[in-house]
Amino acid sequence: MKTIEVPALARVEGEGGLYIGIQDGKAVEIRLDIYEPPRFFEGFLVDRYLQEVPDITARICGICPVAYQMSSILALESALGIQVDGQGYALRRLLYCGEYIESHALHIYLLQAPDLLGAPSALDLAAVAPDVVKNALRMKKVGNDLLKAIGGRSVHPVNACVGGWYRWPDAAPLQALLPELEWALEAARETARWSLTLPYPELEIDYEFVAIHHPQEYGLMHGEVWSSRGSKLPVQEYETRYIEEHVKHSNALHSHTKEGGHYIVGPLARLNLNHEQLMPEARKALKAARIKLPITNPYKSLIARAIELVHFYEEAIALIKAYRPAGPAHATLELKPGEGCGMSEAPRGLLYHRYKIDGNGRVQFAKITPPTAQNLPRIEEDLAALAPQLVKMEQEQATLTAEHLVRSYDPCISCATHFLKLKIENKD
C-alpha cells in the first residue's frame, strides 16, 4: 500500500493534515484531518447586540473579513426587514472589490504559482522572479488600500453596519486610487494571459457548481443560489438543499446536497455560472483565452481567479467614478424579534449566515456555513480521482501534486475551523 502523508500543508490557512491510502491504484482511504479546535464563533455571538456582529465576524478571517461582515449584515437586515440599495449597496460592492483584489492577487502569485513554477515557496519564487512577486504585492496592495479608504482599516474594516454605513467615506481618497487601479487592471489582463500558459496537472471532474447568481451583476450578495444541476433557490431556502454534518476525522463540518452529492463553491463555480455577468474587459479576457466553459479542472481555478481579478479592478474603477454619497449613510433601525439569513460570495466561495434576534436586537442563535466547509468533501473526492495518477508518481511528486490540489481550492481552515498536513499510503 502506498501512503502519502503531509503532516502540515504549507500555504493554506490554518492547521490540518492529509492522509491518502492507495491500493490497486485506487484510493481506499482519504482523510482531510482538521484538528485545530473549532472557533466557536457561533456561540460567541449569542447575546451580542446586532451591530457588534459584523465587527466580530470580520475577525473570523484576516483575508476575507468583508465576506463575513456582509453575510452577517445581510442576514440581520433580513431579520429586520431592511434592504440597502442605491449608493449604499454600490459601496458594499466596492468594498468587496477590495477584498477580492487582495485575496486573489495573493493566492494566484504567492500561494498557487509557486506550485506551477516549481518553486517550493513564495520566498523561493521571490529569489528567482523578484519582479513577479513585486508586481503581485503591488496588485494586492491596491485592494488593501481600497479597504482602508472605505472601511478605515486595510484588515478588518469597521465602517459597514446593519442598515448601511456608519459614515460615507470621503470621495477624494477613493479617486486618488484610480491611477493605481488602472495600472492594476492592465496587470490583471496580463495575469489572465499568463495564467493560460501555466503547466496545470491533468484532472477533469464532473462537478456540481454552486454560486450566487444575479441576472444583472456578477453574483456577490443579491440573487439566487444556483446549481449547475439546475436547482435555483432563494437565499431563504438554502438550508433545504445544502446540509452540514459532522464527520469523525475533522473538527470542521462537511456539507452535502440533500441528495447526498458533494459540490464545489468558489471561483470555478462563479465563473462557470456567471460569466455572462462579467464586466466588459473581463469578458474580453475570457473570450481571448478561448477556454471552453465550464472549466472542470480544479487546478485551473487560478485562471478563474485571474479573470475575476480583471473584473474586480474594472468594477472598482467604475464604482469609484460613479460614487455620489447623499443623504443618511444608514437606515434607522426599528428593532423587533425576527430571524433572517444572508449570503455572499467570499473569494473562496459561498458564505451563508442565519441569525435569530430578540426584540432588543440581541442575537439568540447564529449559524455560519463557510465556503471551505462546503468544499472539504469535494476536495476529498478530487483526491480520490487523482489517486491513479499519484500511484504512478515518485513520492515527492505525488505529495506535491496532492498538496497543490488542496491549495488550488484556497481553503481557509481558520474559517471552517482552522487547517492542514498530507500522508499518502500505498496499501499494495
Partner: protein, 158 residues
C-alpha cells in the same frame, strides 16, 4: 542631527486572548510616555501580513511589539534584534497570516535595503490564544514592563 523615521507597531488580534498583548503594550506605553510617543509614528494592527512591508517603507527603525508563543512562562519579555529575527526559519507560510519573520524574509529578498532597517521585536510570551479570552493575568501584569522596554528602546533610537 538627522531625525530618524521610527515606527512603533503593536501587532495582535484583539479577540484572541494573549495575542492582544502587543496592542495593549503599545497603548500602555502611549499612556505612560505620551511625549516620547508623539515623536515617532505609532500604529497598531491586528493582522498586518504582507502589509507589514508597506508599514516599514520609509522607516529607518522599527520596534515591533507582538505576542509570541514561547517555552518561557506567560508574561516573559523577549527582546530580539535584526539578526535574531533573520535567524527565524519561515514556518508554514500560512496563506493568510504571514508572520513577521516570513514577511521580513520576503521583504529582504525583494528589497535588500530592508537589511539596513534597525529592527527590534519586543515579544511578550503568551500561552492562551483562544477566542475571546482576556489576557492571562501574567500577561496583563507584564504590560508595564513591556511599555518600559518600548520606552528604553525608542530612546536609544531618538
Amino acid at each position: 542631527m538627522i531625525r530618524m523615521n521610527i515606527l512603533v507597531l503593536g501587532i495582535g488580534q484583539s479577540l484572541r486572548g494573549d495575542d492582544a498583548a502587543g496592542l495593549e503594550a503599545v497603548r500602555r506605553w502611549q499612556t505612560l510616555h505620551p511625549a516620547t510617543a508623539a515623536r515617532v509614528r505609532v500604529e497598531v494592527t491586528e493582522l498586518p501580513g504582507l502589509g507589514l512591508l508597506d508599514l516599514l517603507k520609509g522607516m529607518d527603525a522599527a520596534v515591533l511589539v507582538d505576542a509570541v508563543r514561547s517555552e518561557q512562562p506567560a508574561g516573559t519579555l523577549l527582546v530580539l534584534g535584526q539578526d535574531d529575527l533573520a535567524a527565524f526559519t519561515p514556518g508554514s507560510g500560512s496563506a493568510h497570516g504571514w508572520g513577521a519573520a516570513e514577511t521580513l524574509a520576503l521583504g529582504r529578498r525583494l528589497n535588500p535595503s530592508l537589511a539596513d532597517l534597525r529592527l527590534t521585536l519586543i515579544g511578550i510570551a503568551g500561552t492562551d490564544f483562544s477566542m475571546g479570552a482576556e489576557l492571562r493575568p501574567e500577561v496583563r501584569a507584564a504590560l508595564d514592563k513591556a511599555a518600559e522596554a518600548i520606552e528604553r528602546k525608542v530612546n536609544t533610537l531618538l
